[in-house]
């Protein structure tokens, strides 16, 4: 009896693996395209229970995210072209793992923009699908290929830097236009004429941070703690040190940590403390930063803290005492407390659906979709065009158009031919558990 059960289980597992991995012609009757979008529209697990409920409630399209529909979505390869009314927009990002806040934020932000555009009378409609890359270049390429099988026409690239470097090379080779919301390394756009960024590049952040600290007289003795095996952290730290010299800032402590030892920061903090640093610069993602803040508070060390855009998200991190982040300064292109109409509308919608304040990743992704909408409208593109044709049109549009979005300045955003955006970071300070702009 037991044997039979095990055999049956094994057979089931093998059957499942075979059924799911074969890219063979879809013999199952396709239930139409609406169900297929479903896979990408399922509520994010990380947004908590309330978020999930709300997402289900607000699912205007009325599809239930369930196992069955998902299984049908496994046969996208040879599904007929969309009914001819929606552009297939795909993106990869870390929906699971250590960087999941970024991926889910970008996905949610893009989803809101897509839903708004689809509900409006705009002639451009989108179908959005996000795939998980777990912040890994290999998985990102797999995710990108899965999106290609689905029929992606324009891409939102990848959310994080290193995966974006790998997927942007693929989309350059495949002639699929890509606009990444948040992959900030210079290598992402280098040498690829169809890959554009919505965020400012890493080196800019280091320079801007040092300039900001220098011009605002925030500190004279600076300590830097950075992650030595992280592209993002290193890119910012290097340009920060260069600019700090030019600004006459004194860097008294320069300490590193890496992937394996990112839990105990007493050595780095003690070094900063004994060297009497009055400002600590943290060019890193929010996870280690939250530990550093907690441990510094435990040892009674209270310098000024200065972070970069990776710090964004620290307030929504689960299990983090937000009072520790009080007074932390960071550079980000987006201010959720801004009072202009567009931002308020976006923030309200985001809070309603996902139960938390959007960070800049969500805003960047939101902007990406609207930028696409504007460019596609201007180019008179239609969804029956193939990816390569759209690619040509988009290259032309993005280098000539000016875009007004949630992030960036009043004078709008423009892109140069290399794909870099003209945008300057804004200084923010965390006050009473919220980001407040500082001038």
């Amino acid at each position: 009896m037991k044997k039979k059960l095990l055999c049956a289980l094994l057979a089931l597992a093998m059957l499942f693996a075979l059924a799911a991995c074969s890219g063979a012609p879809a013999e199952e009757p396709s239930t139409g395209d609406n169900t297929e979008t479903n896979a990408g529209e399922e509520p994010a697990p990380d947004s908590g229970e309330s978020g999930e409920e709300e997402a289900q409630l607000s699912g205007e399209t009325g599809e239930e995210p369930g196992g069955e529909t998902s299984n049908e979505a496994s046969q996208p390869t040879d599904a007929p072209a969309p009914a001819g009314n929606a552009f297939k927009l795909g993106g990869t990002g870390p929906l699971t793992g250590g960087a999941a806040i970024y991926g889910n934020a970008a996905k949610n932000g893009a989803q809101i923009a897509v839903d708004e555009i689809n509900a409006s009378d705009s002639p451009i409609k989108f179908e959005l699908r996000y795939e998980d890359d777990a912040h890994d270049a290999e998985k990102a390429v797999n995710a990108y290929n899965a999106l290609k099988d689905w029929g992606m026409q324009i891409s939102l690239g990848s959310v994080t830097s290193k995966p974006a470097e790998a997927t942007s090379a693929e989309s350059f080779a495949d002639n699929i236009f890509s606009l990444t919301p948040s992959a900030s390394s210079t290598a992402t756009i280098a040498g690829k004429d169809n890959v554009f960024q919505m965020c400012f590049a890493d080196p800019n952040q280091g320079t801007a941070s040092a300039e900001y600290i220098g011009s605002q007289n925030l500190g004279s003795k600076i300590a830097v703690i950075w992650k030595s095996d992280d592209v993002y952290s290193k890119g910012i730290r290097d340009t920060f040190l260069e600019e700090a010299d030019a600004q006459g800032l004194q860097v008294v402590s320069d300490q590193t940590f890496s992937d394996g030892n990112a839990t105990d920061f007493s050595v780095q903090l003690n070094d900063a403390k004994t060297n009497e640093a009055d400002l600590v610069f943290l060019p890193m993602y929010y996870e280690p930063a939250s530990l550093i803040l907690a441990q510094a508070s435990a040892m009674g060390y209270a310098p000024k803290w200065f972070g970069v855009d990776g710090m964004d998200g620290i307030l929504t991190m689960q299990g983090f005492d937000a009072s520790l982040a009080e007074g932390v300064m960071l550079l980000t292109p987006f201010n959720a407390d801004s009072t202009d109409e567009a931002t308020v509308k976006f923030v309200t919608e985001y809070e309603k659906r996902f139960g938390e304040k959007p960070n800049q990743f969500a805003a960047d992704a939101y902007d990406c979709v609207y930028a696409y909408c504007q460019a596609l409208t201007a180019a008179n593109a239609t969804p029956d065009m193939d990816a390569a044709t759209i690619n040509g049109l988009m290259k032309e549009q993005f280098t000539t158009m000016t875009f007004y979005g949630l992030t960036g300045t009043e004078s709008g955003l423009t892109w140069d031919a290399s794909g870099a955006v003209s945008k300057s970071p804004k200084g923010m300070v965390i006050t009473n558990g919220a980001y407040v702009g500082m001038d």
Binding site: K3, L6, C7, L9, L10, A13, A17, A20, C21, G23, A24, A39, E42, P45, G67, S70, N71, A73, S74, T77, L95, T96, E131, D132, D136, A137, E138, K139, V141, N142, A143, Y144, N145, A146, K148, D149, K162, E165, A166, A169, E170, A173, A187, A190, G191, K227, S228, D229, D230, V231, S233, K234, G235, S258, D259, G260
Partner: protein, 352 residues
């Protein structure tokens, strides 16, 4: 010495799979997703069979196999980039890179083997784990530039002063960027075949029997005059060299590679392939590596639950693969296969 029919079956299946996939690809029957995974699968297969040589044939648990992959990936790719202008034909460049990668990984294997192979069992496992981490840390801090004056190397900070005309290839934590994708499925297939030929011939040779004798009882082996260190080293270095070329193949399939990719998790993943496929069973390793690489991708449609289901399937497979009933079932096949082949052999002999 008569060759085991199982080895023959392995060759046939690998060639058959390659031919079938080539035909499918030519007819456009492969999804982009699967096409994109062909080269990584080849690399993981070579990793799995090479680790199986250490774990299954030599019987020593190594937890740092990704370290050798890393050595091969970085140095092989660097070689390919440095030769970009000198050797314009991609296939030739790839071959040179794979050989260089294997050489450097073999040297790393030899150096690590000197202290490590004096240990046994758990101790060896822990030390290899540490070496894997050390290799990762080195590549995370290594800067390597090439220009007209030759090769420049520095650690921790970029002090290589590579000339403007040259190129800084390995950039510390940023790894290598802008790699030309020259790995192909055919190259991967050839690498698998070479690995199988090397391993099967080693296992079937005098040295191979000595290695297995050490695995079964090293005191007995020593007492009959088997040079333990020598044969352990032979298996270990061969395994490292193959892993190195697999690493180079893997890295040159993506436009970027970072040292963190080859961490402890990757070592364990390869070990899972080996254990699931069966210790000493090369065909099992090949199948396990291919299935477990495709599985997470195949589970993509169920989005959030895929990693959960992947873990559950892994446990189910581990349990069933070791279940006596299933084992007996497969053994029966193996037995009949062997008997038939032996019968064929007898007939041939009679015919002669």
């Amino acid at each position: 010495m008569k060759k085991s029919p199982f080895h023959f079956l392995t060759y046939v299946l690998v060639i058959g799979a390659y031919a079938a996939l080539q035909v499918l690809q030519a007819r456009g029957g492969l999804s982009s997703s699967l096409r994109g995974m062909l080269v990584p699968i080849c690399a993981y297969v070579v990793m799995a069979v090479s680790l199986n040589l250490t774990v299954g044939v030599l019987g020593e648990l190594s937890l740092g196999h990704a370290g050798f992959m890393s050595v091969g990936a970085f140095l092989g790719t660097s070689t390919a980039i440095a030769l970009q202008d000198a050797v314009p034909v991609p296939a030739v460049r790839l071959t040179i890179a794979l050989i260089v990668a294997a050489l450097f990984a073999a040297i790393a294997g030899f150096l690590i083997g000197i202290p490590v192979l004096r240990l046994n069992g758990d101790y060896l496992a822990i030390v290899t784990l540490a070496f894997g981490e050390i290799i990762k840390a080195i590549f995370n801090n290594l800067y390597l530039g090439v220009d007209g004056k030759g090769v420049h190397i520095s650690l921790l900070e970029d002090t290589t002063r590579t000339a403007e005309t040259g190129r800084l290839i390995i950039q510390g934590p940023m790894g290598i960027g802008g790699i030309q994708k020259i790995s192909t499925f055919t190259a991967g297939f050839i690498l698998i075949m070479i690995s199988l030929i090397v391993i099967f011939n080693l296992v079937n040779s005098r040295a191979g029997r000595a290695i297995m004798a050490i695995r079964d009882n090293h005191i007995a082996a020593q007492s009959v005059g088997v040079n333990i260190i020598k044969y352990k080293m032979m298996a270990f270095v061969t395994s490292a060299a193959l892993a190195g070329s697999a690493g180079a193949l893997f890295a040159m399939n993506y436009s970027t590679v970072v040292a963190n990719k080859f961490d402890f998790n990757t070592s364990i993943l390869i070990l899972v392939f080996v254990v699931l496929g069966g210790l000493g069973n090369m065909l099992g390793s090949i199948i396990a590596a291919a299935v477990l690489t495709i599985l997470p991708e195949a589970l993509r449609p169920i989005a959030e639950y895929r990693m959960l289901l992947y873990a559950v399937l892994l446990i189910v497979m581990m349990l069933t693969a070791n279940h006596p009933f299933v084992r007996a079932f497969f053994n029966r096949f193996r037995q009949t296969g062997r008997l038939r082949l032996e019968a064929d052999g007898d007939e041939e002999r009679e015919a002669v």
